[in-house]
Symmetry: C2
Subunit: 151 residues, 2 copies
């Protein structure tokens, strides 16, 4: 499904999908909510995950913490249905617009992983919660599963 | 301005900005248009770029191709004014919502770097142009400057 990268014109101005995977074989992915435009997640895909996402029209990522293919929603039920997929100029980043079954995307329990803002006013650099309440209880959904967040 | 990362609870549920920079000292950044929600760019910041972005409320990135601090708009004039800044659950990605002077963000000449969609229908994997016309002529704006896209 993926073409070889040959020239800058091909990559930037062409119709061939020629994604660039980094030295770990991954490409970053930005996931936004199809209805609200909110950024829900930032994650990664490898070749197999990108191919399966295109084929199934459901988001399949590559989990760096588990070092494995990650079918989003397989544990939580929060499957992401792809409504649109885009790629950037140099084809080293993918943007997917999704409808989320169950309405949540973040393992901490929030709708979006970006549930905190960075203050730009007096408290520069302090974080403020944009989402006041969790959408679900992660203890119930992810019981016995390691937290992917690493200190 | 940045705190040390101590515990998962601090990182995920706290009010301290404790960003995780990768092994190259970088953190990925998703840039969206404040008015339309469109994803404009995916780029990187290092510590200095993140600090200067918070302080000046203008997007400052780190250019991997030039290996240098990159004040967005310093050549093109397409300065990105920060309206909101967010960070994700494990604080390894930043989302900025911006108003763009001049209305373009992509070095190829388009409004957004994500000017092509990946077809999900019959032509699976073929790219289709979402933006039909360039917003500006890159030859004029970036004369004599190397193209950051690498094959």
């Amino acid at each position: 499904m993926f073409e070889k990268r040959k020239t800058i014109v091909q990559v930037e101005e062409g119709n061939e999908l020629a994604p660039k995977f980094d030295e770990k074989g991954l490409i970053p992915v930005v996931t936004t909510d199809y209805d609200t435009g909110e950024v829900l997640m930032h994650a990664y895909m490898n070749k197999e995950a990108l191919q399966r996402t295109i084929e199934t029209q459901r988001a399949v990522y590559y989990s760096r913490s588990r070092d494995a293919i990650w079918e989003k929603g397989s544990v939580s039920g929060f499957v992401q249905h792809i409504k649109e997929m885009r790629i950037d100029d140099d084809q080293d980043c993918v943007w997917i617009r999704v409808k989320v079954e169950g309405g949540a995307s973040c393992h901490v329990g929030y709708r979006s992983c970006f549930y905190r803002s960075i203050s730009l006013d007096a408290k520069k650099g302090q974080l403020e919660f944009c989402e006041k309440n969790k959408t679900f209880d992660p203890e119930t959904f992810y019981k016995g599963i390691d937290n992917p967040t690493k200190v």
